[in-house]
């Protein structure tokens, strides 16, 4: 079943490349993927917990290298995110002028890569699936992007290529840190081995820093973040939705799934560095965001900034903090996808998306004004949205970090992070005012809301966001037991 969720988009992508109708096949495949994921989510036995739906196919038995998939609560929630955002991204795709089929195939490749990475329980495939997205992203931005698209495409590809390579070295180092007799690529086995203390504390520091930098580049950890805003700004809206919403979560997921359980001592010894960098994400990038004059760059920088909160939850190394991080990952994926989708609507009218070229749009396009407002509030972290639940949980977690971490550093970082909420309120509300409030100019008054058929992906994203905001327990019930199992006792 999991393999089907992963390979359905891949097969659809190949079918499209071979001539199947692009949009129809893509929507069909992602809808089916969504339904399957929903089944997997509802079929998961929460009482039993642990990894379920496991299936394996040996690749190199001598190395204990297998194609192995399986899901626990955490990966299910991430898979669910992938499926929703894919469906929304494919649906909101505007009319593609050139090479429509290649466009949809690329989107599906990215989705398959993300789904594969979240569902893999084998280090090798966990890594390999993520990289499936690299070349499609390069093509998507270069072919259908806007503005400085060539520069942006090169930047993201080289950065991510480098990040993945650093990550690869880290994973290899981790694999070799286990004594030869018990080496395995299987994450579940590795986790059990690590719980017995098979990787000595002093050997954890080096693989962890490789992993932190490798994943960090993929997540746009400050100061490795400069690829993200221009790439999201010039990418076509569906690509930005998938990349900022789903793919970037791969790095965070990797930290939670691989680095924390296997190298907890390494994580503790580098916590000081992570705290400094994440404050850079929140405060430095936050101020950079305030200075943006274009909506697409603003959203790009804001997505970089919000990574800082998630890092804070992960750094705290306790169940509350990491669960909050997971919840915020989910929430941020939905809210940024909704924002980019609406930025895509606006781009059709005003290609440059300069903030001062709008004004009063809420009168001409009330639906857009309302939903954009909801998504913007969600992104700031207003109560009622899942982002708020996630951020609050993270702050609670960060105030009482795991044993062995210096609490005063965490207090300081949390205080900075709280100010970050103010910073994000400033830029989001200013952007909202500039675009939607006031009296519409002559040409703005002629604009209208997007067609009804294009609206419901955004509605879907926001509905799930509200649901998770009002009843975060529904999602935490999946996430929390998995995280309890992941974190060292």
């Amino acid at each position: 079943m999991l393999s089907l969720i992963i390979f359905l988009p891949l097969l659809a992508a190949f079918a499209i490349l071979l001539g199947a109708p692009g949009r129809k096949t893509a929507i069909g495949a992602s809808a089916l993927q969504f339904v399957l994921t929903l089944f997997a989510l509802l079929g998961y036995d929460k009482a039993k917990g642990g990894f379920q739906l496991l299936s394996t196919c040996p690749i190199l038995p001598e190395w204990k290298l297998n194609y192995a998939v399986g899901v626990d609560g955490l990966s299910l929630v991430m898979l669910f995110l992938t499926a929703i955002v894919t469906l929304a991204a494919v649906w909101v795709s505007p009319k593609i002028e050139k090479r429509e089929n290649l466009f949809y195939a690329c989107l599906l490749f990215i989705s398959a890569g993300a789904a594969g990475a979240f569902a893999s329980v084998d280090l090798f495939f966990f890594y390999a699936f993520h990289e499936l997205a690299l070349i499609p992203t390069f093509l998507l931005i270069g072919l259908w992007g806007t503005g400085e698209r060539f520069t942006a495409a090169w930047k993201i590809t080289i950065y991510l290529g480098l990040g993945s390579f650093v990550l690869l070295i880290g994973l290899v180092d981790l694999y070799l840190a286990v004594p030869e007799a018990s080496r395995t690529f299987n994450l579940i086995d590795l986790q059990q081995l690590a719980a017995t203390g098979i990787i000595p504390a002093e050997a954890q520091s080096r693989p962890y820093i490789f992993l932190l930098i490798g994943f960090g580049i993929l997540i746009s950890l400050f100061p490795f973040h400069s690829w993200a805003p221009p790439a999201y700004a010039s990418a076509p809206a569906p690509a930005a939705m998938l990349h900022a919403g789903v793919l970037k979560k791969f790095g965070l997921y990797g930290l939670i799934r691989v680095a924390l359980p296997l190298l907890p001592e390494g994580a503790k010894s580098w916590a000081w560095l992570l705290l400094i960098l994440l404050v850079g994400n929140i405060i430095y990038v936050g101020f950079v965001t305030i200075a943006q004059k274009k909506l697409d760059l603003l959203l790009g920088y804001s997505s970089v900034m919000h990574m800082g909160y998630i890092f804070l939850g992960i750094a705290a190394l306790n169940v509350i903090g990491v669960s909050g991080a997971a919840l915020l990952m989910f929430a941020h994926g939905l809210s940024i996808a909704a924002l980019f989708a609406m930025a895509g609507f606006l781009r059709e009218k005003s290609p440059l998306l300069a903030l001062d070229s709008f004004g009063g749009l809420a009168k001409a396009a009330p639906w857009l004004g309302f939903t954009f407002g909801l998504a913007a509030f969600a992104s700031i972290g207003l109560p009622g949205f899942a982002n708020f639940a996630g951020e609050m949980t993270i702050f609670f977690g960060a105030f009482k970090p795991a044993a062995g971490l210096i609490s005063s550093n965490f207090y300081l970082a949390t205080v900075f992070a709280l100010w970050g909420v103010v910073v994000s309120a400033v830029y989001m509300l200013r952007a909202y005012r500039a675009i939607f409030l006031g009296e519409p100019g002559k040409d703005i008054a002629t604009w209208s809301d997007p067609a009804k058929a294009m609206r419901w992906p955004v509605v879907l994203l926001l509905a799930v966001l509200l649901l998770a905001g009002f009843a975060p327990r529904v999602f935490l019930a999946y996430v929390q037991p998995s995280i309890e199992a992941l974190l060292p006792k």
Binding site: M1, Q52, L53, L54, S55, T56, I59, L60, E62, W63, R99, L102, Y127, A128, F129, E131, L132, L134, I135, F138, L139, G142, L143, F150, A153, W154, T157, I158, G161, L162, F165, V166, L168, I169, V172, D173, L176
Partner: protein
């Protein structure tokens, strides 16, 4: 079961037959010969699976020649390369004919098809050679046929220039190699690698002259595999030579150089004092080759020249594995497996790039990167093929190139070569840029001329097979890893699938 030496004999006979048939045939078109050779060489790959695995023994006939799994592996690489080079030569005929004087239109083309077969025989001998004498003789058989082939387009000055450069530097490197062999012989009194190992293990020998000899051999082999600082000849020769020969040079010559390097190193690594120095030297060579090859590739605008630099870059990655040498027997994660896998992947992706390039260059009349503009519109199939080749060269997972890189850096991390890994960070990032430039040209740019490209069926078939193999080896590494480790193929009973527990 046949003796593996018959494979080489068959290839040699095929070469001689082709020469004779060429001289006596009345027809102007010599392409039939190449097609015959392709069929026979393909059959030989099949036969090679029935040949006896028979490592070098003590009786006279077997002192020189070892038929171990690694040898078979490289023999198949040599055969496959030759087949694809012949397919390329068929595509290349029109270009070739332009630059060769002749009374009749097809005159002088026959040797172009038969010489690669002789080179192939040399490569196959080299794969099995375990004695410096046989190593030297087979190396010369390869190199001398290459001298002729590189300068084959007599009317084109670039080809002649390439030929002269290759001849002079090749002769020089041969000199180094022979001189090194004599020094090693002077110290140990043996030319056989197994005997040298025995001498070094049992007697104490003077290390200084031994090291001097090894360094000279390394210089000689460094020329062959295009390792820095002996790589200066590569770009000019690769660019000037006829394209099929460039492909042959960059794949066959490199594979042979590395198998010899691996074999030659083993005896000297038994002496700790010598081995640390030799490995340190190899580490420096690896670092320099990586930096030079990757950084110099960045500004290239000609695709053929770009591939020349890429060939240097990949020699660097291979040297990383050699410099992190470990375990003489072919265990998983050993240098032998890493180098073998890397070379197999390198063969597929490089031949694929050259094959696509020949077809495109024929239609676009040039092999600069801008001649690939908009290829995705003119021929989606060719563009996809080149996309796969570039992904694999850059090391994107699910391709053969990635698994190779993974194994190489696995050995490097295992041996704690962190300086080389640090250099690797820079060069891998550089690699993404220069390989994807071609992809950007193919997919982002608009074509200057919209005529679709026609591909010959044989070429289309070869491209398809290469694409498929790149993915298969990128996802199922097991067959190659096993053939390198010499396990007999075991047919396992497939258990009922226990999924969905």
């Amino acid at each position: 079961m046949i003796d593996s030496i018959f494979l080489e004999i068959a290839v040699l006979l095929l070469g001689i037959y082709m020469l004779l048939a060429e001289s006596f045939s009345k027809s102007d078109d010599k392409r039939g010969l190449a097609k015959t050779a392709i069929v026979i060489l393909t059959a030989l790959i099949g036969f090679s699976f029935f040949a006896r695995v028979n490592p070098a023994g003590t009786d006279l006939a077997k002192i020189f020649y070892s038929a171990d799994p690694i040898a078979f592996f490289f023999k198949r690489i040599a055969l496959l390369t030759t087949i694809i080079v012949l397919i390329m030569s068929l595509e290349y005929k029109s270009v070739l004919a332009k630059f060769i004087p002749g009374v009749t239109p097809g005159a002088g083309l026959g040797e172009f098809y038969s010489l690669p077969v002789f080179t192939c025989a040399g490569l196959m001998f080299m794969a099995s050679a375990v004695d410096f004498l046989l190593i030297f003789v087979s190396l010369e058989l390869v190199t001398i046929s290459f001298y002729v082939l590189v300068a084959y387009m007599r009317r084109q000055s670039a080809s002649l220039e390439a030929g002269v450069k290759y001849l002079i530097l090749g002769a020089l490197s041969t000199g180094f190699l022979v001189y090194g062999i004599t020094w090693i012989f002077g110290v140990t009194g043996e030319t056989n690698l197994a005997a040298i190992t025995h001498v070094l293990q049992t007697k104490t020998v003077d290390h200084a002259p031994l090291l001097f000899g090894i360094v000279l051999v390394l210089i000689g082999l460094g020329f062959k595999v295009a390792a820095a600082p002996f790589q200066i000849w590569v770009p000019d020769v690769y660019q000037g030579a006829p394209t099929p020969i460039t492909a042959f040079l960059s794949v066959g010559s490199k594979a042979a150089g590395f198998v010899v390097l691996l074999r030659v190193l083993v005896p000297f690594l038994v002496v700790p004092e010598v081995s640390t120095k030799v490995l340190a030297l190899l580490g420096i060579m690896a670092g320099a080759t990586l930096i030079y090859g990757n950084l110099a590739a960045l500004p290239q605008d000609n695709f053929k020249r770009l591939l020349a630099y890429s060939s240097i870059a990949h020699a660097g990655y291979l040297l990383v594995a050699v410099a992190s040498f470990q375990s003489t027997e072919a265990s998983l994660g050993s240098t032998g497996v890493a180098v073998g896998y890397y070379l197999a992947g390198y063969l597929l992706m490089t031949l694929l790039s050259f094959l696509v390039m020949i077809v495109v260059a024929k239609h676009s009349r040039g092999d600069d990167i801008l001649h690939f503009n908009g290829l995705a519109k003119r021929s989606p199939f060719l563009a996809f093929g080149l996309l796969v080749a570039m992904m694999s060269l850059a090391g994107v997972p699910s391709t053969a190139g990635f698994v190779g890189k993974f194994l190489v850096f696995l050995t490097a991390v295992q041996m704690q070569k962190y300086t080389l890994i640090g250099i690797g960070f820079v060069t891998v990032a550089a690699g993404f840029y220069y390989y994807l430039r071609v992809v950007a040209a193919m997919y982002w740019q608009e074509p200057t001329d919209n005529t679709p490209i026609v591909i010959a069926p044989l070429t289309r078939f070869a491209i398809g097979v290469l694409i498929l193999l790149i993915f298969v080896f990128g996802i199922f590494p097991k067959p190659i890893v096993n053939s390198l480790r010499g396990e007999p193929p075991v047919i396992t009973v497939v258990e009922p699938h226990v999924a969905e527990k």
